[in-house]
Amino acid sequence: MAFIISLIITVLLDILILYLGLLVFKKNPQGKINQIFFILAFAILSWIVFNFLENEISYLPLAAFFLKLDFSTGPLIVSFFLLFAVYFPDRAEILAIWKKILLAAVCALFAILPFSNLLLNNFTIKNRGIRYEEGSLYEAYAIFLLGMIMWGSYILIKKYLSYTGQKRLQVIYVLVSFGLTGLITAVINLFFSNSLPIEVSRIGIYCFIIFIGSTTYAMVRHHLMDIRVIIQKSLVFTFLLVIISVLYALIVFSVNFIAKGLSLNWLIFSAALTVIILSFTLPVLEKKFTKLTDKIFFKAPIDYKEALKTLSYIFATEIKLPELVKKTRQFLQKTFKIDLVSFYFSASIKKYYRISSADKNKIYFLPAKGSYLAKYFTSQSSVSKIIARDDLEWQAAADKTKIARKMILEMDALKGDLVIAIFGQKELLGIICLGHKLDDNPYFSQDIEWFDIIAKQLGLALETSLLYENLEDLVAERTEQLKQANQKLKQISAAKSEFVSVASHQLKTPLSVIRNIFSLLKDGDLGKVTAKQSDYGQRGFKQSEKLIKLVKMLLNISRIETGRLNLELSKSNLDPIIKEHLPMFETLAKQKKIQIQFSPGLDNRLFNFDKNLIGEVIDNLLDNAIKYTPQGKIIIKSQKIGKLARVSISDTGLGIKPDNLKELFQRFIRGSDKKKIAIAGTGLGLYFCRRVIEVHNGKIWAESPGLDKGAVFIFELPMIK
């Protein structure tokens, strides 16, 4: 039974070591360090085989032969360990050629030594396992092995101290595992091999898997997390096994010592004692060891779940692109303790997203052409959305197109140890470059799985954000266009008003001349005129007066519209001004048999207004009232309403459709009724009135019960404060 277990363990162990050795070798068959490691692994494998055979074969000469082979592989192992230490991870030139030759010679000497009597003699087979007596050079052999190991370790420690970052980490893996393995093996195998039960002494041999395993990991590393876990677990397991074995051996030894002879009862007793002691101490020990190995392998474990929660919250709440990128970067940097996290947008994003000048320093782009990383991620052949720089190093060694090398250069330029591609629904949006972890740890496979998840989420978040920015951009763009159009309209309007203003002014003089000539003509100043001539002179005079009035109104409107009207405000009473304007309309009213009534109600209260302009408003309103009233009455009323002066001019005329009441005061609008259109007018009068009243902070409106029911025009002016 024990034989079969031993056989199974040995075979499995050998297969595993062979696999790991080949794994490293296959990564780079040309690499010296890979070759050295492969030979080292093979030597260890052979050693385990010899060790098994020497103990399991009951034919003494053959068992003795394998024992000698066993001992002769020792120098081979330590020599290649030394070589490994020299070459790993970078070659350190420390051995002169003659030293190498000398060393090789000494090594060869010690390798042959087991075949003489000087090292081993008097072989016997006891139970299972060969026993021997130590020869005269046994100590020298042991010292040689230990010396070589210490030398190799010394080199590694020196490297460990001089290196930083990943290399330092690689060295520590080798050192720790080798230290442990070497310690256990040396103690058990070298010094207690004769006195300990065979199963216990085997542990030392099995321990070599720790060394091979972790060295493989250190070399192949990256995110081969599983190996890391296996190593950690097996380390803990080995620790416990060693303790159990040592404890059992101690108990058996003590019992044997006390009881002088080993009866079955005592064996059972000691086994029971071991179990009792272990059952109390084992859980505690396991915890301690796990904690210890955790410290070595996992420096600061990350709460991935919590991190995912926090980051998802950022993705869900941050809509602004620069902020989203910034917060994600900061979070990753803080959580994973990375020296630098940067985000580079794919150049193609530019077509969707116009960077504002404020964001110019916050948004980075990959070069439009010549980004090997972008090319890699977008190519059909790319499997992974995440690349580690170390992976690329391996690829670069075998890559003939040198693309991997170029990608490495690009990553170095971006200061990224790990690059994560962020994809949207269709295309590459950008990449996140994660720099170096501050605790020198590499990126673990758990990290990478986690990045894989967040990469997808970030892709979605970025896309949403881009859409939003786009929309904002579009709105901003359209607003700007509207603004410009509006500005242009304003300019045109201003130019028009300016034109009207200049033109009106220029019109005044010729119009005055014409009017004056008509005036002279009708009055007979130019010689005697007939009644008809006088009549037509009068008509010409009247029309030119109208024209002058219109021009004045236009001028005032253009002044109001361009904001150049200087209101000539004075504290005045409104009633006398209304009264002053009435006589002008008397003749016209009499002709149409319209009665004009004025009931003043402001009681000498003073209001602040421009007498000329308000006078013209009254003129206009009265003129309209007479114009649109075929016959009847016009009543003018003034009254004080609160702090307002209200003037209403009501007529019994044509009235206004309710629909037209509001638009009456717009430019060039007159009532749409046909009767009204037949009546001459410019459509400017009420607009002028509105503008004048408005610049006085007053209000003007019209009321009418309907067509043919008359109308009331009302304006209000605020009182002086």
Binding site: T509, S512, V513, N516, S519, L520, F541
Partner: protein, 128 residues
């Protein structure tokens, strides 16, 4: 004072306009001189010692009406001649400036037909 003795100087660059006022004033019995620009106006005042009233336009070639007004009112020889501004400038600041420079009246052309001018002038001399 007899009307025939009154001489009125119209300073106005728009001949047609000046003529309408001149005609009406002449018909009303006044002696009327027209000066079409600032320099001619100055010369006219110098030559004719007997000017009883000036109708002054403000926008003129050579010299502006305001500067003429200032000159006339500062010169002892002409300071006593009454001056009516007759212009189409109608903003309060312009009217204020005219009155500050001691114009005797400020008239807006569009508001004053020749007939109204004659009435005003008659009233003015009658009141004097």
């Amino acid at each position: 004072m007899k009307l025939e003795e009154k001489t009125i100087l119209i300073i106005e660059d728009e001949q047609d306009l000046a003529d309408t006022y001149k005609l009406k004033l002449k018909n009303a019995g006044y002696n009327v001189i027209i000066a079409a620009d600032g320099l001619k106006a100055l010369a006219a005042v110098k030559e004719n010692k007997q000017i009883d009233l000036i109708l002054l336009d403000l926008i003129l070639p050579q010299r502006s009406g305001f500067s003429l007004l200032k000159d006339f009112k500062e010169n002892p020889e002409s300071e006593k001649i009454p001056i009516f501004i007759l212009s189409n400038l109608s903003l309060e600041k312009e009217i204020d400036q005219g009155l500050k420079l001691k114009a005797d009246k400020y008239l807006i052309k569009t508001d004053y037909t020749p007939e109204k001018i004659v009435n005003l002038v008659n009233e003015y001399f009658a009141g004097k």
